[in-house]
């Protein structure tokens, strides 16, 4: 019951899509989380609601909005193509965009919580030692927020790995390009006799999720130990 080459390729594509979606959305999520946790600005509530939209809208609706905005005729899609020569329509990058958008609110929530938990007095101490605003963020705030950031990355990765509705609505089900694990499993279940590969792929998906969970646990524990100052860790 070993996976075929084609199935491994589907796995590889899914990993590529999920990993890139997390990496690219990370700086945006951190910025959004920081602004929601630490600043006040007109329209903050609206911004907060907008960030959470992908969580409450049906994925197909999100996929439709992505099509409207990022398709080759969409306003953002046109800009991306004209300024950067980047096209996401019918490409794995589009699938990554869909995954990233769907996982974004989860990442922001986790990161925001960790920012809010940081003792502001430590930041004040850092500024008396000569650290400007950005330096305080980079040397104190961010390191202390790492456990929350890793958690957010895992949540977003898991959500992106399982993303179906937005992906298929936005960039279709192109084998080798946008046919990620969930889309492939769906396709197999629609074909008479496709139950066996569907099951194989499903088991692969489970294994992948467990691996991601494990890695995330390790990272979070390490980061927390470092913050708690456990000498037994021997790291500095």
């Amino acid at each position: 019951m070993l996976p075929t080459l084609e199935e491994l390729q589907i796995l590889g594509l899914s990993l590529k899509v999920a990993v890139w979606s997390v990496l690219v959305s990370l700086p945006f999520a951190v910025a959004a989380a920081y602004s929601l946790a630490r600043t006040n600005f007109p329209g903050k509530t609206l911004f907060d609601a907008a960030v959470h939209l992908p969580l409450v809208l049906p994925p197909v609706v999100v996929g439709y909005f992505l099509l409207l905005l990022f398709g080759r005729r969409g306003p953002v899609g046109v800009l991306l193509e004209e300024w950067f020569g980047v096209v996401v329509m019918f490409k794995w990058t589009g699938a990554a965009l869909a995954a990233g958008v769907m996982g974004f609110p989860l990442m922001v929530r986790a990161v925001r919580l960790s920012f809010e938990a940081i003792d502001r007095r430590l930041e004040a101490a850092a500024s008396t030692l000569g650290a400007g605003r950005f330096a305080v963020f980079a040397t104190v705030t961010l390191p202390l927020a790492l456990p929350g950031i890793f958690t957010g990355m895992l949540l977003s990765f898991a959500r992106g790995l399982g993303e179906f509705g937005a992906t298929i609505t936005f960039v279709s089900n192109i084998p080798g390009e946008t046919r990620t694990l969930p889309l492939a499993i769906y396709t197999y279940t629609q074909v008479p006799g496709g139950d066996e590969p569907a099951l194989r792929l499903s088991l692969l998906a489970v294994a992948l999720s467990l691996a991601a969970l494990f890695v995330s646990e390790v990272m979070v524990r390490r980061a927390t130990r470092r913050i708690m100052g456990d000498d037994a860790d021997g790291r500095h």
Binding site: S127, T128, L129, G130, G132, A135, T139, L144, H236
Partner: protein
Amino acid sequence: MTLTVDIERRLGSFRLKTAFSAGEGVTVLFGRSGAGKTSVINAIAGILRPDSGCIVVNGSVLFDSTRGIDVPTPRRRVGYVFQEARLFPHLSVRGNLRYARLFSRAHEAPGHFDHVVELLGLAQLLDRRPGNLSGGEKQRVAIGRALLSEPRLLLLDEPLASLDTHRRSEILQYIELLRDEVKIPILYVSHAVEEVVRLADTVVLMSAGEAVATGAAEEIMGRSDLRGASRPFEGGAVIDARVVAQDLEHDLATLAFDGGTLTVPNVDALIGEPVRVRVRARDVSIALERPQRVSIQNILGGRIIEIGPERGGIVDVSIAVGSTTLRSRVTLRAARQLELAAGTAVYALVKAVSLTRAGPGPA
């Protein structure tokens, strides 16, 4: 060094309106809890923004509301030691100490780091993490961290408040060492008399958001009219004297000051060294004639300056002994019986003298 502070700030129902100047050495902001002391040093550090006023350190204007100057905290170069240390938990002790170096463009003087580490006894702690340090160790690291940021002024906010008694005296010694070894002026917030007496060259007395008096330590601590402004502390006098003789057999030293001499036990200082002592009002009795055949060793002649208000049947009598003012606490009845009044020549009988500070004073 000169520090000039003249600021005003409303914090809810509390109004801070403080003006004082301070010079070299250790300046203690002294006063009850809630008097506004921490707010003042927060303003100097730039953590708190006054509504109006100005703050000048050594000619550099840190804040001036009339000219719209408000130097951001990272550029003020004031080292701040917080009450709860506030060490960075994700860095080692070494990382904490070296933190300020990340933002400093100046070359570090060779050996400076090692010097500070040695001064504060941190060598064994360098690779430890703040989470595993005791309260006293944390404070020492905090002091070292502030020092290594090469500040032009050191602020300490009740650094001993969160420590137990044993640790307190240990850290107090380190701070005394700091005062003596390091040439940076220090602004120290405290509500504890002992710390004032041991450390202060200048005292700024704060009450209800205002600096009610500024002056040399012994002067401010002795003034009776200020008694109500601070937490009721033991009325008394602080005297700067010099060791002129040592009786090693009886472990007694003779201290001389311009009002006379004092014989004090257990003075661990050499002849010629300056020493500061404290004489509590309750330890001073008054006689109209010099008593003979009495156990008290210290009898000083002087003249009554004033008799303080009666409180619970007790009055504090201020006596001029040379240029020093001693204080004596007697019952109202005794004062009436002896017919004490301003101008009366009396003898002050000093039963006990506590030694508080040893070592070289400010340059």
